[in-house]
Symmetry: C2
Subunit: 314 residues, 2 copies
């Protein structure tokens, strides 16, 4: 199995990405390889410099780089040999089984939609955010930024998509789905969340437990937290800032340390015909490593095929 | 000046409310009185039991109580002699200059709208949440629950209302207004936040600094944080849960201790013809005390009159 890794994306690329690939290579299962995509000469030089002598990392040449601030669609069109375009090309062609990048988030989303595309029947692919839970595990919140406005049927499907991720990747049996809301009563919320509640309640494919509130984010009421991408993005970034503040104050704790983006490595794009993970722009080698390991888990559990089976697209 | 306090609302009423009133009475300015509203015999008995001998607390009889789970409109109609109905009646009649309660939030909102009503020109009164800032002060986020869905013009006005609160009550000169969003660029966000951004940008009454993100909640980018009540409610409750988790882990810090609802006491209802504060249902005597002191500050700065002046209603 081959995991393609964009070596050029992110604030600390390519150094942190190469180091992260080397860290991941030590922990990958035997039948996995990392395809390090970027400027071949630079990457080979770095691998040499860092003393890499293994065989699990292969370099794939890509001569262009999409910068963090570039317009996603324009950049992908104008830079067909960028590491992100090459990565999704390999994912589409089946030459890679997953693609991950700490680069331009918009370009990652647009790249996914233009190359492997959404699974037939999936209304809106989403980005999932991993949520540390007080019970020691993780939950997933979706969407965290791909779709700012979400219609009720989209929110309903997030419950299904998230349940598949939670079941297979997080290994949670019969995952509990909660709708993030401002009150527990089913009549509470926006027009969209009220309508979504009614749909989720009668959906036979999921274990819907009702509305949850902001205070339930980290307890074990829900494993899958459904909300629009606007709200999810704010929640996730606020949680990250809490970690940063605690860290700056030298307050450490195993639970809060999991708020650190390095611990999870990245956010999966869910509902597309392929496994893709988006990492944080400021990713360190550890974050890159954990992003690759998360991609491995998605490949090992056949995640993107699960979405196809679920919608009947396969 | 008279601050009316609902003695019967909240999980620990009337004991915590009476104790809180006594704590507040010790700290109030000389020309302030507390009108303790509830069952006269019980309240007088408690004051006696707790050894109160001062003159700043007066008991006002109200024979009925609206419970936490009751339907707001129905309860207010059926219980005209409830502590909440009596409190707003006194506020409307000018017999009290502020009213605060840790009781049924919905009944507090409906009571405000039915009695003193929204200031003419205010599209939607809102509930403000006090946000602890890393720089040592507080900011305000609105709305935190009165309006789940907010149109762009409502969000715009939240910027104005919040600025008035920040300027007078929080004593922040030329408060910075930020629109909570999923990205800093002005094209980011929901349809409503994108449109609100365009309105806020050209509003001459406020100091709009653009979009802020979840990670900016506690830094000093913005003193006034504008968002819909759905999002604000989730953010606020999540912040409270962070305090609870830290507290349970025995992790203490002056900044995070301000996440405790007890420190701020309550959330002001903004944009109505009167000063009103809603406290947490689980309020302790300290929380009740701080809610009363916040009400005093609103009275002292003539807050509700400021809204009227702003809209030209006065």
């Amino acid at each position: 199995m081959r995991i393609a890794l964009d070596a050029m994306g992110g604030d600390f690329a390519p150094e942190a990405n190469v180091k992260g690939a080397m860290l991941a290579a030590e922990q990958l299962e035997e039948d996995y390889e990392i395809l390090l995509i970027g400027k071949e000469d630079i990457l080979k030089q770095l691998l040499k410099e860092y003393g890499y002598t293994g065989s699990a990392i292969k370099v794939v040449n890509a001569t262009q780089v999409i910068d963090m601030g570039e317009h996603p669609t324009k950049a992908l069109t104008q830079k067909p040999d960028s590491s992100i375009a090459v990565g999704f090309g390999m994912l589409k062609a089946g030459k890679a089984h997953a693609f991950c990048s700490t680069g331009n988030t918009g370009a990652m989303l647009v790249g996914a939609m233009f190359s492997v595309k959404a699974v037939e029947g999936i209304l809106r692919p989403s980005i999932g955010g991993l949520v540390p839970k007080l019970n020691g595990g993780f939950g997933i919140i979706l969407d965290v930024g791909a779709n700012a406005d979400c219609k009720p049927e989209v929110l309903e499907q997030f419950g299904e998509i998230g349940s598949i991720y939670a079941k297979y990747v997080l290994e949670i049996d019969n995952p509990k789905v909660g709708l993030m809301n401002l009150g527990e009563e089913e009549g509470k919320g926006t027009v969209n969340t009220q309508a979504a509640h009614q749909r989720l309640k009668v959906n036979p494919n999921i274990n819907f437990i009702g509305n949850i509130e902001g205070r339930d984010m980290f307890n074990d009421k829900a494993d899958v937290i459904v909300c629009d991408g606007y709200t999810g993005n704010i929640i996730l970034k606020m949680a990250e800032s809490i970690y940063d503040i605690l860290h700056a104050k030298n307050m450490h704790d195993p639970f809060f340390d999991k708020f650190n983006y390095e611990a999870v490595g990245g956010s999966p794009i869910l509902g597309i015909n392929g496994n893709a993970v988006i990492g944080h722009g400021v990713s360190t080698p550890l974050a890159v490593c954990n992003m690759v390991l998360q991609a491995q888990k998605m490949v090992a559990t056949n995640l993107s095929e699960r979405f196809k089976k679920h919608t009947g697209a396969q």
